[in-house]
């Protein structure tokens, strides 16, 4: 199709909301190189370094002080996983008895062969044959949802998919956002009432997929349904994806309620229009309003 939208470049306007301004009062924001304190009585934590007796920040973020410990929590960072986090990752390597998974962290995470559910759901010792057929379960490029089992000493995460809700992901859309935007909740798997399902990975990777119909779970998450997805489902997922990008651009905390409100606010617009800057602003402002009403 040849029809195209064209726009002229403009100077960006600062969108400042009264709610965000009041929240900034108590925060101490620093940039790398800013001197936090000259008092030598403090212990230095993450994100700081000593520069000639002065405690200086090495990352851009807000200063946190716990008694005598000062650290700086960065605004934009790679995913620092903790035990119990739900992540969505992509297999990058198939090694002996384990897979390497890219989870937007500083190091690739590890998924051990012993941490996955074998097809059939049986509990047995992993044999040499299982090692050779690892590629049949997960290949390079596959997307999986998993949970963090433990953290190695160097910071790498060890993942497991020992539950039927985790496993290989089939048809859907992946949206990559910053990990700091995902709110920690009791559950990260939601079936949204608008007609799609979402997995909000703690590492910033969000997976949107059509709500699975009633099917008996075969191989603990390794059965990928290749049924064609209906147009209405695809439209819902496309709209959700654009809403997620809009929320991500305006740094709104993501959880099921905020995503849903954003979806509802975006209904008057066409799906492709949601990505326009002014439409994004309008939708996010309405979402923020609704969220404030919900709290108050």
């Amino acid at each position: 199709s040849m029809a195209a939208n064209m726009r002229l470049p403009t100077i960006r306007k600062q969108v400042s909301l009264s709610s965000s301004l009041s929240a900034l009062d108590g925060k101490d924001l620093v940039v790398p190189g800013d001197v936090i304190t000259s008092d030598t009585g403090f212990m230095r934590g993450h994100g700081t370094y000593m520069d000639e007796e002065k405690l200086t920040a090495s990352v851009a973020g807000e200063v946190e002080r716990v008694n005598k410990l000062i650290c700086v929590r960065p605004l934009k960072t790679r995913f620092n996983g903790e035990v119990g986090d739900v992540v969505v990752g992509r297999i990058t390597e198939v090694q002996q008895k384990r897979w390497k998974v890219d989870t937007n962290s500083r190091l690739d995470s590890v998924l051990l062969l012993s941490s996955v559910n074998l097809p059939g759901g049986e509990l047995r010792r992993r044999s040499a044959e299982d090692e050779l057929t690892m590629r049949d379960y997960l290949q390079e490029g596959d997307l999986i949802s998993a949970e963090v089992q433990s953290v190695f000493s160097d910071g790498a995460l060890s993942l497991h998919t020992r539950s039927l809700k985790y496993g290989k992901l089939g048809q859907g859309v992946l949206v990559q956002l910053s990990p700091s935007l995902i709110k920690r909740q009791k559950t990260h798997f939601h079936n949204l009432p608008c007609g799609a399902s979402i997995i909000l990975g703690n590492n910033g990777f969000v997976w949107l997929y059509p709500t699975p119909g009633h099917q008996d779970e075969e191989a603990g998450g390794y059965y990928t349904s290749l049924e064609p997805v209906s147009l209405s489902d695809r439209e819902v997922i496309s709209r959700l994806r654009n809403c997620l990008l809009a929320l991500g651009a305006h740094k709104v905390l993501l959880y099921d309620t905020s995503v849903l409100y954003c979806y509802e606010s975006s209904l008057p617009h066409q799906i492709k229009d949601i990505l326009k800057p002014e439409v994004m602003e309008e939708i996010v402002m309405m979402t923020r309003q609704k969220l404030v009403e919900l709290e108050g």
Binding site: L8, T10, G141, P277
Partner: protein, 414 residues
Amino acid sequence: MRDTPLSNCERDFLLKAIQEKKRLDGRQTYDYRSIKISFGTDYGCCFVDLGKTRIMAQVSCELITPKENRPNEGLIFFNIELSPMASPAFEMGRQSELLVKLNRQLERCLRNSKCIDTESLCVVSGEKVWQIRVDVHLLNHDGNLMDAASIAAIAALCHFRRPDVGIQGEEVTVYSTEERDPIPLSIYHMPICVSFSFFQQGTYLLVDPCEREERVMDGLLMIAMNKHREICSIQSSGGIMLLKDQVLRCSKIASVKVSEITELINKALENDKKARKTGGKFGFAESLPQERITALKTDVSHVEMSDVKEKANEIVQRAEVPPQTVPSPVLTAPGTGQVGEGLENSWGLKEEEEEEEEDETVELKMELEEGHEEKGRGNYLPKFCFPWVSETDSPGPRSVCAVFYGHSLQDSTE
């Protein structure tokens, strides 16, 4: 740092597009990206842009003692470096497989082909010879590093001038650039590398793969050739099985491409020579002001617009009814506006007709001015939008904006 892994859907998309003879940037199967060759202020400094791949080559020389078994020959040393600014996957000092492969191929292409007369580099047999050193730095990685590196290396060698040497009996004097003009190297021919990437076990072939295409390719065939149709080196990597006629076909394509590129290099050298003679600003000094990074700058992209009107009308006739939307879908924001027959001109700029109307009635003029002031978006609009505004014959319904804009673009690029 590791490169972000390529997702399955991207891979499938690229392969499917290649099967349908389509490339990401719209090129044909045998098309090269646009090559730009420029030289620096020093002799022997050359920048090559192959699309977005950017490489710099610098040639330098020094006097050393020759090898024992070859006392009459000078030495040439090649070194390619993958700078971390080229790609996040490259780390300084790390010997990667790619680096070794590129270095080996460049050596084979330039050293084994004997394109440079090494005997002319001899000063005193057995004691002093020139060692020519070619350093190639990769500045940006967007695929096909070998071709760009070979073009940069040979162009830099052709551009290089070594200091003149005078021998009087036992005394050897090396004259500086101020005392005597430096002399160029004696180069017999210019070997250029041409890369062919293969997909689906050799079924599909692409010339000059970009970075994405390289990630999904099965194998790579590199043919180094000169314009006299002499093959200097052939290398096939990736382990794909190639048929005899495939290799022959590739060599034919390579000879065409090599003659084009050789002409380009010669032209660039000529231009640089002319510029230096006239004493005007050339090379690095000239190019520096143009290397500004502007957020609003983009390269000229050619848009096919020969049959836009018919296609657009077809689409409009076939289009379904759009879904229900809010009654006033036009969001007025800075930098956007609407033009067209019967619609209110909201660009904020007065057209000739409107100005005439204003002259007639003063009252209307006041209203119009106020209206325009309210909208006042003209401040941000750059000059070039004027030709767009003057054309008010918008053909057909508003949804066919492409035709309107397309028409004006054609005019302004001519």
